[in-house]
Symmetry: C2
Subunit: 446 residues, 2 copies
């Protein structure tokens, strides 16, 4: 330890500060291909007071702090910068309260998202937001990125389940935002401002989240199509019919092929896309609305449903067998989903890049996964060239660069194209109010 | 006109600026009992460019601007201040776009909320937020206050339907926030920051709002109870059973008495509360869950449903027959609804004030209506003393001062009790970023 980290260790209970270079290095990156900076050390916070002490020390010595949950981020938001301290919230894992009657829970940021969901289900409730990473990602990280997931199409994103926050500010002061009630309009929406701010405005040390009644019976349908347009038409039809799906997932041929090569799911040569839909109530209506499908499977038991959805859950792992993956995250109005997917296919062809696409189709959120060589430290030029085309196509179609992963480091180059110079000025003005020394996750998100 | 208002009129198309004192006076207040200041004039904006010109002029001359929709606010947010210009958005009434496929609309701020809902219903959709004032209030005012309504319990508040905004900033620059997509996390949540900011951060000139599928069949139940606790227990039971009510309204004896005195609804002497519940699906389950009710009516036709809900819609008018009404707006966790109502009854008794209460019970949002003499310009001391007790009781019960009306002028005295000094500092810091000259609705909301 040097003088700085010794002062930090002295301000905290024993064992909280790590400085061994190999250990520190393992906290320096998330799941993004960005070469991180070199941190001074890592703080393993176990309480709000640990976070307060860390931020006071950081303010005093003007040391950058990079807050971190489980490090599953896909935009580089938790990438270390030189001379920073990485502040891990992963050990703050208490569910402080779970009230079935008020349908709320108060949780610490290190709680694994699926663990909260399971705790809620013991009371007939659920925690709705379910990013694909939800078995390994934390509530704190989900809040910092405003994570989405498969159930967003019905229940909204993380922000829609966040009622209030306990936040440690850059100078170590504690702020409570929001409320325990379903509604409330006292003061500006600071809760909403912190959610999705990627650790640049404060460190979330607890959240009051909304739980919802777990649905009664779920119907699940998997349908195969020989054209992407037919699959997209079924998406629109299912939404328009008022089926209120809680899951409406689309996979393209490249994704299905990768799954089939691995698990041999009996993929037909003519299949171009698969749709997996889940809703409360009857499967028959959804199956009927997949009129152009070449094959439709309907679940009649929870086990069958799990099997149908299981195919979707294999998608990322199947792609990782092909190479390293840059997982992108555009979102467009649902009506232009076919145009978006066509633009992705064209970019892939033009730049000779393998792109496998899955989509949370019900809300127009498309994840093109750019596959590249395992030996490379960062995505090669042609991947970024194809990604650039995909981002611009999404914006041209009235969409956004990022539906649920965040801007982090990876998408800062493009952010101005979407939000413009006036928003940029306001973002930096707000940042200055919350973090005048620019020590909270500097260089990210805005 | 004086020199200032002449310069304003010169910057705008003809007929936009009013300075006749009697006319100006009629734009100086909302539905709140606060003595307003004296405006210089009123601008009747018809376009975004009118708003830009007004804000440029106001910045140049440092004139306060009080934006205004229909003036139906209940917290004094649209109260004029001395020397201000009132900026009415009521004439910006275009529905610029309504896309059934993407389930969005782009609307100007002067659109009457119920008109947007009706336009959506032509396509099998609805605009969900429905404040009690929705036949006379505007989308712009609803956004500025983050208005709630009867359907919040299922569909959330105005913020939950706002996807993006076009805003004119204090200096006349135009900002577009948010997006047309269901999800998006590029940059800080400026949309959420403007919603509920009561005209203190910018002037909303258009909004992209989310529409939802209109429900298929609605079941409606009205139940009478001889105790408030039994009614509150039925509320909890209906929510816990997963009925997903889109309306769950409670009326107390005083309210029912006022309605009965006016319309003779055959109120039983023993009835202490009435619950009106509406949900998709079957009425029988909800009726069963009102087990302790002394009487339950179930609708089997839309006409019968309208009749049951009609009783609730009479509530405010019935109370206005008793005197002038201060409509308050606390919100508490649902589990302590009985305690909140008891606290209201005790405050009424202690201060000799007539309080009639209705509640959006499903989300714990309680509207105690304080009735006072018609001759008074403002609520008398004992009303404020009782209101003070009610506010403090709501906070003690883990609730908020305002579920859906906003802080405006009326609740600024109490805001610090809820949000604390750190939040106050951040609120004012944010205000300074957006409005450094403090010309946008000064003195309100924060």
């Amino acid at each position: 330890m040097n003088e700085l980290t010794s002062a930090l260790a002295a301000a905290l209970p024993g064992g909280r500060v790590l400085t061994d270079p190999d250990v520190v290095d393992s906290y320096a990156r998330d799941r993004t291909f960005v070469t991180p900076g070199r941190p001074l050390g890592v703080v393993l916070a176990q309480s709000r007071d640990d976070v307060v002490a860390t931020m006071r020390w950081a303010s005093e010595h003007r040391v950058p702090v990079v807050p971190r949950g489980a490090g599953t981020g896909l935009a580089g938001g938790a990438t270390a910068v030189d001379g920073c301290v990485v502040l891990s919230l992963a050990r703050m894992t208490a569910i402080r309260e779970l009230s079935p009657q008020d349908e709320i829970a108060v949780v610490e940021p290190g709680v694994i998202t699926a663990d909260l969901d399971r705790a809620a289900r013991e009371h007939g409730l659920m925690y709705a937001p379910d990013p694909s990473s939800y078995e390994i990602s934390t509530i704190g990280g989900n809040l910092a990125t405003n994570a989405g997931g498969l159930r967003c199409v019905k229940y909204g994103v993380t922000r829609d389940s966040a009622l209030g926050l306990e936040v440690v500010l850059a100078d170590g002061r504690v702020l409570n935002t929001g409320r325990r009630t379903m509604k409330g309009v006292a003061g500006y929406d600071l809760t909403g401002l912190f959610v999705g701010s990627e650790g640049t405005l404060g460190v979330i040390t607890a959240a009051t989240v909304r739980l919802r009644r777990a649905p009664r019976e779920m119907a699940t349908v998997a349908a195969e199509f020989t054209s992407l347009r037919d699959a997209a038409a079924a998406v629109s039809a299912i939404v328009a019919a008022g089926c209120q799906p809680s899951m409406l997932e689309l996979m393209d041929r490249t994704t299905l092929q990768a799954i089939d090569d691995w698990k041999n799911i009996g993929l037909e040569p003519s299949t171009r896309a698969m749709l997996i839909a889940q809703a409360e109530g009857s499967a028959d209506e959804m199956a009927d609305l997949c009129g152009a499908a070449s094959y439709v499977a309907v679940s009649s038991t929870p086990e069958e449903a799990a099997e149908l959805i299981g195919v979707r859950r294999l998608a990322y792992q199947a792609k990782e067998r092909l190479g390293q993956c840059l997982v992108e995250d555009v979102c467009v109005p649902r009506s232009v989903l076919p145009e978006m997917i066509t633009a992705i296919e064209e970019a892939a062809a033009r730049h000779g890049v393998l792109i496998a696409t899955v989509a949370h189709a019900g809300d127009g959120n498309v994840h093109p996964v750019f596959v590249f060589d395992r030996g490379l430290a960062e995505p090669p030029e042609e991947v970024w060239a194809a990604a650039d085309e995909v981002f611009r196509a999404a914006l041209d179609l009235g969409g956004t660069l990022t539906g649920e992963h965040g801007v982090g480091l990876l998408k800062k180059r493009w952010l101005g194209l979407e939000t413009g110079p006036v928003a940029a000025e306001l973002h930096h003005g707000i940042k200055q109010v919350f973090d005048p020394l620019n020590i909270l996750n500097p260089g990210k998100a805005i």
